[in-house]
Every structure is written in structure tokens, then in C-alpha cells.
Symmetry: C2
Subunit: 176 residues, 2 copies
């Protein structure tokens, strides 16, 4: 059945190391449980990470704000696995402290940003078939404190127009 | 077929008087075209207004920011038509100049707001069956200038959890 899921935030803080560790480390870890003091159950953030990490071929990100370290690690991990990652972001937010954009660029991920106006989207498209979108900016502040929603939609009626919007923005923004 | 629609913003400025006029005035207007200088075609804003104005029984609004006058008029019109309108909003934004919340309250619409935290949702539920949600804050600035998205979804898999989220927030926030 096609995926249809809704996540609400704020999300309790949980350990996401098992999701974000590389496969060899994860295999080692599975024999010895993580010693950290955080809860290790599911949370809205861990569910969001799982959906992102399901990417096998492509990931488009169109994000006003991106500073959450766990989400940054997930995107970098996908890039290292050979997934084609493309990111567009808002130039005003990009310069702020804690932005993940610099890390992504240094990892070799393609990032473009607007020169004017206000790019307020917060969506991701996984393998051209799964849309992840909502009110949530990808910041720790929003994830842990705000009332937010994220829809996960596997339906071409929504994915196709969002892909077209991504391609419009990708063409319009200058590569830098 | 169930509604599945995506709106992207910014929206060109168009005249929405025909949509927002009361029925008698609208009937009179249909014989004489509106004399204003704005374009009179469809736009993302006019499509959003049409979806809202389709409400016959209930409208739940959960909005971080609400200052767009046309959307404020649409909500007031629905209230006058006997639709049960309930609004929750963020207290920080509510106090800003141009907020529609004061108008809604003076019209007799029930409004509740949070006391702490950050209510960042931007969704509406029409007749408990149509979900309208996305990145768009209901401000003229966002509608006319920002890159934004709105999904319109008629699918219980999404509507039911959003209704439950609305009822949680409605109970939690103080009536004032
Ligand atoms: Zn741990
Ligand atoms: Zn006009």
C-alpha cells in the first residue's frame, strides 16, 4: 500500500545513533546496546529520519532552514551511499550559526540558494516517489519545541507538482 | 473523485471581490463586471478561497499567522452563513499589526491561543473532510512574495490525525 503518514512535533528527544551509524558500526552496536542516557524508542524525528534514509537513488531538498545535526548527518550519509542529493535553501537563513549547509557543501553535495525573495518551502522528495512536506523547518528548535506537522505522501498527484516546483527553483537559482 | 490539489505561491494579485461578495451583491455584480483594475482570473489565492468557502458545516483553523484581509473576510463570511468556525493561533503573532484575529473575535468567532511555546501549524479543515495545509502563513506578504506550498487533501488518512491534533490544541489552549 502507498505510504500515507503524518508526524506531529514537538518530538521527545531520543537517541538516533543506531539509525545514523554506518552499517559496520551499526552491526557492531546491535550486539552491545547504546550506552547513552537518552531514550532509544521511536519519535517523530526518528520516523522522519527513517523515511529520508530509505532513499536509494535521489533526494531533493527544498528547505527554508536546515540546522538540525541529525538530519544533516542523514543527508550526508545518503550522499556517501551514492544517492544523488540536491539542496535548495534560503540565502538569509543559510548564513546563520548552526546551518548545516556549509557541512553539506564541504561533503560535496550540490546546494543552490536564492538571491532575493523568500524561499519558505520545507519539503523533501525521496526517489521521485515519496513527498515529505509540512510546517517543520529542519531545526532542533522546531523539532523539540514547536507544534509542527509533516506529511509523508506516496501519491503522484502530489509528488509530480512538487518535483516540478523543485526543478523550477533549481534552474532559477544560481549555482555557487 | 476525492480532491487532491497543490497550490504554489507567490500568487499574482487578482481581484477576489466576486468570491467574497455576499450572494445578493454577487448576483447583481454578475450582470455588471467588476470595474477594478486588478486581473479577474484565477490565482493560487482565489483557489484557496474557493476551497475554504466550500465549507457548509464546520471550519477548524490552526494558524501561526493570520493577517491576509481576503482570507479574514472569507472566514467571517462562513461564520455569518452559520458554519461553526474555531480558530487557534499563536499568541506572539496575534498581537502584531494587521492580524485578523481581532476582527474574527469581534465578529463572534471562537478563537483560542497558546500561552507558551510556538504554534507553527498552518492548516484548515473544511467540513471534517478536507485538509488544507502547507508552508503558507496566511499573510499578504507570504501570498504575494514567498515561495510557498499548500496541499488540499480529501483523505481520512491525513484528515483524521489533523482533526485529532486540532482537538488536542483546542482543549489545551485557554479560552479567552
Ligand atoms: Zn543512545
Ligand atoms: Zn475587481
Amino acid at each position: 500500500a502507498p505510504v500515507s503518514e503524518v508526524l506531529f512535533f514537538p518530538s521527545p528527544v531520543t537517541c538516533t545513533e543506531a539509525l545514523l551509524a554506518d552499517p559496520l558500526a551499526a552491526a557492531a552496536a546491535s550486539s552491545s546496546p547504546c550506552p547513552c542516557l537518552l531514550p532509544h524508542g521511536e519519535s517523530a524525528l526518528s520516523r522522519l529520519l527513517r523515511r529520508l534514509l530509505s532513499a536509494r537513488r535521489s533526494l531533493e531538498l527544498c528547505l527554508f532552514a536546515f540546522s538540525c545535526p541529525q538530519l544533516g548527518r542523514a543527508v550526508t550519509l545518503l550522499h556517501r551511499r551514492g544517492v544523488r542529493v540536491r539542496v535548495v535553501t534560503d540565502s538569509d537563513y543559510m548564513a546563520l550559526t548552526g546551518s548545516q549547509i556549509g557541512h553539506l557543501r564541504r561533503a560535496g553535495i550540490q546546494v543552490r540558494h536564492d538571491e532575493r525573495g523568500y524561499m519558505h518551502h520545507k519539503f523533501a522528495i525521496v526517489d521521485q516517489k515519496l513527498l515529505i512536506t509540512g510546517s517543520l523547518n529542519w531545526t532542533t528548535q522546531a523539532i523539540q519545541n514547536n507544534r509542527e506537522n509533516v506529511l509523508i505522501v506516496e501519491d503522484a498527484a502530489y509528488v509530480t507538482p512538487f518535483l516540478a516546483e523543485f526543478e523550477r527553483i533549481w534552474k532559477e537559482y544560481n549555482p555557487t
